[in-house]
């Protein structure tokens, strides 16, 4: 269970969340919804540790997550619209350098399988500068498969389905299914709720802020 206690988050000079409490259930998928600009991305970035909290704490069970940032970094994957793919590297090289940054000792076989899980194996040696937006998003989502191998607990995904086609969404759903079976927790900001065929928890920021 992820507890947010009396959290105040500022973006620039604007207060986005003020003394706010929330609970995010473990081993479940929680979808954060709400209209544009309500603070979905800000919330995800704050939980990922990119935006420091003005006030309050975030606890994973009894551990304050920001006390040990290295441990928290081993525990989560964050993917948003800027996926961290370098234009001058191929899809495969990008995945490899990324997994090394996470400190994982991935074999060539693991990386191949990861690309296969999002149907990107044919584009393995394509430069990211030549990829379409959808392909880039799929290349970024291939990291999710790797995280299944390395016992990651949290996925923080900011509108991951935006550029995906029908088939990729099915593959993405499969990845989530496997992750939930492994007791993983997914926190996902999205507008289109009908894309997911699971029982999800809904965190509607529109309602909570009134």
């Amino acid at each position: 269970m992820l507890y947010l206690q009396d959290v105040t988050i500022k973006r620039g000079s604007k207060i986005v969340f003020y003394n706010w409490n929330a609970r995010i259930k473990n081993s479940k998928i929680t979808i954060i919804s709400g209209k544009n600009g309500v603070g979905k991305s800000t919330l995800l970035r704050a939980i990922a540790g990119m935006i420091p909290l003005e006030q309050g704490i975030v606890k994973n069970y009894n551990n304050e997550i920001f006390k040990d940032k290295i441990k928290w970094g081993q525990n989560l994957i964050y993917i948003d619209s800027k996926s961290g793919l370098s234009r001058d590297l191929t899809v495969y090289e990008n995945l490899k350098t990324w997994s090394q940054m996470k400190g994982w000792n991935t074999s060539d076989n693991d990386l191949q399988k990861a690309l296969e899980s999002v149907d990107m194996l044919n584009y393995k040696n394509l430069y990211v500068s030549q990829c379409s937006e959808g392909l880039k998003k799929r290349a970024a989502l291939s990291r999710l498969y790797l995280s299944l191998l390395f016992n990651i607990e949290f996925w923080l995904l900011d509108e991951p389905t935006n550029e995906l086609d029908q088939k990729s969404i099915i593959l993405f759903n499969k990845l989530i299914q496997r992750f939930l079976e492994n007791k993983g927790t997914v926190l996902l900001a999205c507008h289109e709720l009908k894309l997911f065929d699971f029982n999800y928890e809904l965190l509607n920021l529109d309602l909570l802020k009134k």
Binding site: P52, G73, N75, Q100, M101
Partner: protein, 229 residues
């Protein structure tokens, strides 16, 4: 779940990544060298056919050319990774930001310095540099180059997300480069008048070590601010 790779392995993998990115499109590397050749050539043409004049200021021309040629490429070192989200990924990874930045500046140093050392004979001919200066010149650009790339990372981190970063960056970092210029030129000048350059060299190394210690921490701090905006 602990890290499977040691920090050293992660460090090396980052350097490899920078090399892949920079040497795949050689544009940046070639532009640094050709820009430096242009600056040096302009100076030489400006001085005219007076060998005596050139001999007095050739070391200064070399260093100024080096600094001016490197500065435009410094901005890109972090800006590219900021734009494509790599820095976001770095901050949410277990690798400390400081380590990533240290590997970045070392990689950048190697990327700039290798082509520069290769093209050194050209500058020696162009500037009519005395042959006994060559080993000292080599040492001073190796050490000074490391300083410049460490300072450059600070400047690059400082101007992340700024709209006119390419103008702001030189204004911010040139004051920090001044000691490097003074002692770098000092090494060559003392050799030219047959004195020992050791004092200048130690000061240059001293400054480089100071920058080596503070640069990763300052720039990591600045990047955290840039990302939290």
């Amino acid at each position: 779940m602990s890290l499977q790779l040691s920090f050293i392995q992660i460090f090396i993998s980052h350097i490899k990544r920078e090399f892949l990115i920079n040497f795949r499109s050689l544009v940046d590397v070639i532009s640094i060298i050709s820009f430096m050749i242009l600056i040096v050539t302009l100076f030489i043409l400006g001085i005219g056919p007076f060998e005596e004049k050139l001999r007095l200021i050739s070391n200064a021309i070399f260093w100024i050319g080096l600094i001016l040629a490197i500065i435009p490429s410094l901005e890109k070192t972090l800006q590219r990774d900021y734009d494509n989200g790599w820095l976001d990924q770095s901050i949410t990874s277990p690798t400390p930001m400081e380590l990533i930045l240290l590997s970045k500046s070392l990689a950048y140093w190697l990327i700039v310095i290798i082509p520069l050392v290769i093209s050194l004979p050209l500058f020696i001919v162009l500037l009519n540099i005395n042959l006994k200066l060559i080993p000292w010149l080599l040492i001073s650009i190796l050490v000074g180059g490391l300083s410049i790339s460490l300072i450059g990372i600070i400047g690059s981190a400082l101007t992340l997300g700024a709209k006119r970063g390419n103008i702001l960056l030189p204004i911010l970092i040139i004051p920090l480069i001044i000691p490097i210029l003074i002692f770098g030129v000092g090494i060559s000048e003392t050799v030219r008048i047959n004195e020992s350059p050791i004092g200048n060299l130690f000061l240059l190394i001293g400054f480089t070590l100071i920058y080596l210690v503070i640069s990763p921490f300052i720039s990591a701090f600045l990047i955290r601010i840039a990302i939290s905006r």
